[in-house]
Symmetry: C2
């Protein structure tokens, strides 16, 4: 069996690839650039290219058995800045992917949608999949439109899709760019000895899922014979204040200094609470999230600390050598 | 007051323009081509151009007080053939319109959405506005995405939009291209003495609204201080078989021959029944549809017969002259 992972060099994609490589499958990754935090894996067939180009996509798709589409050219925090680019880069590109799958006779697709944005301001807690879709951001609007085109392709041409509406993933290899994922952002700031930003009273609540739990759901969904749409979260709500407290405990337990919150005014666009009802995915795939928040934070912190130390070492010493100790501010 | 009607040369747009000209407003029409069935109106400021071009749109928008956006580059029957063109021509173009309205400080927008496609296969009869949006065609998917961007613009930047989800309009000036509106298509075929196509058992049921009733709702919505989303139909269901019977009665009452139905196999993509709940629009705008189906069919038939006779005359006698009698097949 040969699988194509579009976006396989990203945060979530890299963990999906790790799980797939443990099975008897061949893996091709299609992405714009190599992974940010590790060298290419010898077992993977990497294709670096532009997935909005149907020709490159056709080449990548034609000899695989199934497609996992995890790519996004935007993140929730920035998609509103240029909705046209969001539409072109994600909606149009995915409609073309569906064309290519139809032309090459591929039926199995796992698509990563967004449990945090497609529902808008939820009227239910936890939010089930049949909750009205009232997205209030370009990111969510585009995800809804993609979901609709996938369902149309299913109805008209018989593809067998699984749509996974992911909540807030966190874990090793989450970028420190500071625009996606408060856990990753906070851990990187803590590692540099910087205060972490908290908007409003810290009671904004999200559903955080460890990236390996999410990756396992992607792989189980792919392996199943089920089609449909499934929330993909932990099913548990955690406030921003609890996240900061958890990070503080984790950092201090490793000998680091207390994490300083930097209080900012509340942001009007923050939905107060989004927690996903994950019973449908539990039932359909025999899956459950297994990594608790404390365990996940501790593992993520170890990864951030190690990676930060390596990067600091590389910055200070351009030649290859043993990792330098972390900066004083980070580890004092 | 100066108003911009995007798509003002179309079937619905031309009737909206007629109503606006009865009021104390100046009207600019932005469209790709002139009206198909009558000469330009002296009181209207016509701008022929491409509304997907933001520069042309900016010129057309900058000195008006409000915008009615009635344009679509696709129709439900053909949008699936090229979803990327549907996305580019309608979704991207409308997102750019919102940019232009924001840049020029315009707040009032009436947008014509689609009551027949945004709900997908309805679970309610009649269908209220808060019914889940599960479109199963590119046309409906794009309308939903546009609605979502309009609501986002309302939430973030305070525009004051009215979204009208129109059902199946019919009436004078409906095209005879045969792809939009079975009443227009059937009347034109009857006028040419051709049989009218009926798919399946004729029990497919739709909500037909006279185009002047819909135009009046557009104008009332524009004049109101209400924002929101409203179904725009007659609130009454009529089957395809009833339409054919009504047309047959109408044609025979005018001295024409019986209308021959041509029975075709049922089409898988036809939703069995879509009838809109219009109580929200009735209440918000003090509006009600006023033109009954028999009256509307009779008027439409008179218009088709006259127009067909004129066109036949023009075809047969290229020089200007009195209208030739209708072709034998049509009027025998």
């Amino acid at each position: 069996m040969k699988l194509l992972v579009i976006g396989g060099c990203g945060f979530i994609g890299s963990h999906v690839v790790d799980l797939l490589l443990q099975e008897e499958v061949r893996v091709r990754v299609f992405d714009r650039r190599p992974e940010a935090f590790r060298a290419p894996l010898p077992a993977v067939d990497y294709v670096m290219g532009d997935y909005t180009d149907p020709t490159q996509l056709f080449e990548a798709v034609r000899d695989v058995d199934a497609v996992l589409h995890l790519a996004s050219t935007t993140v929730p925090a920035t998609a509103n800045l240029n909705p046209v680019a969001d539409i072109e880069g994600n909606l149009v590109a995915t409609v073309r992917l569906l064309d290519v799958m139809r032309a090459t006779g591929k039926r199995r697709l796992v698509f990563l949608s967004s449990g945090g944005t497609v529902y808008g301001v939820p009227e239910a807690d936890p939010v089930p999949e049949d909750h009205p879709l009232r997205p209030i951001s370009s990111y969510g609007i585009v995800k809804v439109a993609i979901e609709n085109y996938i369902r149309m392709e299913q109805a008209l041409h018989g593809i067998e899709p699984v749509i996974l509406r992911a909540s807030n993933p966190y874990g090793p290899r989450q970028s420190h760019a500071g625009i996606q994922g408060i856990i990753g952002t906070h851990l990187w700031r803590a590692a540099r000895g910087e205060p972490v930003e908290v908007w409003g009273d810290g009671q904004v609540t999200r559903d955080f899922i460890h990236v390996r739990d999410l990756a396992e759901l992607c792989v189980r969904a792919l392996r199943s014979h089920t089609s449909g749409c499934f929330n993909a979260g932990s099913g548990t709500g955690t406030s921003v204040a609890e996240i900061v407290a958890g990070i503080d405990r984790t950092v201090r337990a490793s000998g680091g200094p207390p994490v300083r919150p930097l209080c900012r005014p509340g942001r009007a666009f923050d939905v107060p609470r989004v927690v996903l009802d994950i019973s449908r995915a539990r039932e359909a795939f025999g899956w459950a999230p297994r990594i608790g928040l404390d365990e996940g934070l501790a593992e993520s912190w170890r990864w951030v600390r190690t990676t930060e130390a390596l990067q600091a070492g590389n910055e200070e010493r351009p030649t290859t050598g043993p990792a330098a100790p972390a900066r004083a501010g980070a580890m004092a």
